[in-house]
Amino acid sequence: MTTTATTTAGTRPPRTRLQRLVSILRGSPGVPIGGGALLFFAVVALTGHSWVPDPFAQDVINRLQPPSADAWFGTDEFGRDLFARMVTGTRTTLLVGATVSLLAGIAGVLMGMLAGYYGRLDGVIMRVMDGLLAFPSVVLALGLVAALGPRISNTIIALAIVYTPRIARLIRGVVLSLKQQDYVMAARALGARDERILRSHVLRNIVDVIIVQLSYIFALAVIAESALSFLGVTGSVTNPSWGGILSDGRTYIYQAPSMTVIPGILIALLVLALNVLGDGLQERLDPRLRGQFRG
């Protein structure tokens, strides 16, 4: 964006990227609060294995213990330390959430740009997206995981397929209106190739929209992943996950309620952080578009 024509009287656009970042951080409390919490979870996920006890060490005598000074979150049905397992599970949850939002973001932006920019492709791409959107997200993910198998990579693929059409539909709408902008028309009149227009005029102007939506998709993917592992269709013995612990905890809900209570609080906190971050970014970057997903 090299022109100053879009500047409204009285507000000067930030000049450098750093200034822009600072203005985003200062503009809305949601960004530092949500972003800070997300960063905290990320640090825990990346370093956790080095400072928690062995999450697989069994101690059957001390099974299903309530939280104490020894085991901060209590112990599970094998006497394994729940704090260590939750910290280790942070990695699984964040990995799935981040990868899903990244993959769905790439595929969705690609589909949305193609459909919005090329009228010929619009019908075909959007009908496929509409067809996929007809399935409730959890239900489609269940079906895909049931067919592909219960591995984490398959969960990621399934959820990426589920959320791609949601991003595609939104991006298509934005691209359709961008296409009518003078600078895109001008670029085309000057003979710029489609690839160049898409890259330097369209993509650059939807980056803000994409960033906002990715944090919402991240949040949805975390809930969906927990739901799938809660239902027991995905997850593995070697990778403890919050949803998985929650699912095991349900069996012992009478003896050890903390095993159910704590993972849910962690999921809620992470999703809350992502939603607060998304709201803050939206307020700052994309105030016109209140594109919220459900599901």
Partner: protein, 314 residues
């Protein structure tokens, strides 16, 4: 209007085709031989051949696809491998609790979410608005299935006010079913209420900037009356539409919530089918849920056009 409805119905065909193709393709996503996977390691080779024949898996893929579509269009979803009964019959027995749960949670979402959203918007920036919006964002962030479990711990285990699990049909058992529905419906409805409240607040803020609101204020109407007489209706139309279009999410949510409360609906059926590798059931359930969702969306669209005079359907 008839022409509009017909046009909308025709537009459903490609969507239904994509839904059908996805569901058909599921079985072909199974790594390895789907029939051995479905029958498990104990199956004899005669059984495997028989099922493969029955599912037409020996035919070339295009003819399998055409035959499957032709069969499905006539309402024949095949037979359950485990139960040896038509898929449609098995699913029909499980449809009611899921739909009851999804519809009831939708109502809770609207009845809680809209008043709170409008209140927040009319007090935008004040402490009450802040508090309501924090509750709303918590609503969409707390996993509804976990909220259900917390409900069980508090109201079933500790207080013993409500049963922890089970289901009675409100159609045959009447009010007695309410005790079983309260917890699952509230758990699912709370997250929907959070979504609806955020949506209603945003919509109200937009509506409050309209000229007719300013006119109403200018002629001295009290702000409460402006809200109820002029804003409420104009907020409800888009909100109810978006809520209707998000019905699918609650269908999915109901399917997860059923597991928490041991409700014998579609969710339990799908999970059981996944464990038993009963793919015809999984396929049939996905197909029906998706098509039901599409039809609900169509009805919502039609109602929207009917109740909003500003929109023409030509």
């Amino acid at each position: 209007m008839t022409a509009f409805i017909i046009r909308r119905l025709i537009a459903l065909i490609p969507v239904a085709l994509v839904v059908g193709t996805t569901v058909f393709g599921l079985v072909h996503l199974i790594p390895g031989d789907p029939v051995s996977v479905m029958l498990g390691p104990g199956a004899s080779s005669a059984e495997i051949d028989e099922l493969r024949d029955q599912l037409r898996l020996n035919d070339p893929l295009p003819s399998q696809y055409v035959a499957w579509l032709a069969r499905t269009v006539t309402g024949d979803l095949g037979d359950s491998i485990v139960q040896q009964r038509p898929v449609l019959t098995v699913i029909a027995e499980r449809l009611e609790p899921t739909i009851v749960l999804a519809v009831a949670a939708t109502l809770v979402g609207v009845l809680l979410g809209v008043p709170f959203g409008i209140t927040a918007a009319s007090l935008a920036g004040r402490p009450i608005d802040r508090v309501l919006m924090i509750v709303a964002v918590a609503g969409i962030s707390i996993p509804y299935f976990w909220l259900g479990l917390m409900g069980i711990i508090v109201f079933a285990v500790e207080l013993r006010w409500l049963p922890a699990t089970g289901y009675l049909s409100p159609f045959s058992e009447g009010w007695a079913s309410l005790r079983y529905l309260v917890l699952p419906v509230l758990a699912l409805g709370f997250s929907q209420a959070g979504f609806v409240a955020r949506l209603s607040r945003a919509t109200t803020l937009q509506v409050l900037q309209e000229n007719y609101i300013r006119t109403a204020r200018a002629k001295g109407m009290r702000s409460r009356r402006v809200l109820v007489r002029h804003a409420l209706r104009n907020v409800m139309i888009p909100v109810v539409t978006v809520v209707g279009l998000s019905f699918g999410v609650l269908l999915g949510g109901a399917i997860v919530t059923e597991t928490v409360f041991g409700i014998p609906g579609m969710g339990r059926l799908i999970l059981q089918a996944i464990q038993q590798r009963d793919y015809p059931i999984i396929q049939g359930a996905l197909l029906l849920v998706a098509m039901f969702n599409v039809l609900v969306n169509l009805v919502v669209d039609l109602v929207y056009v009917l109740i909003d005079p500003r929109i023409s359907y030509s």
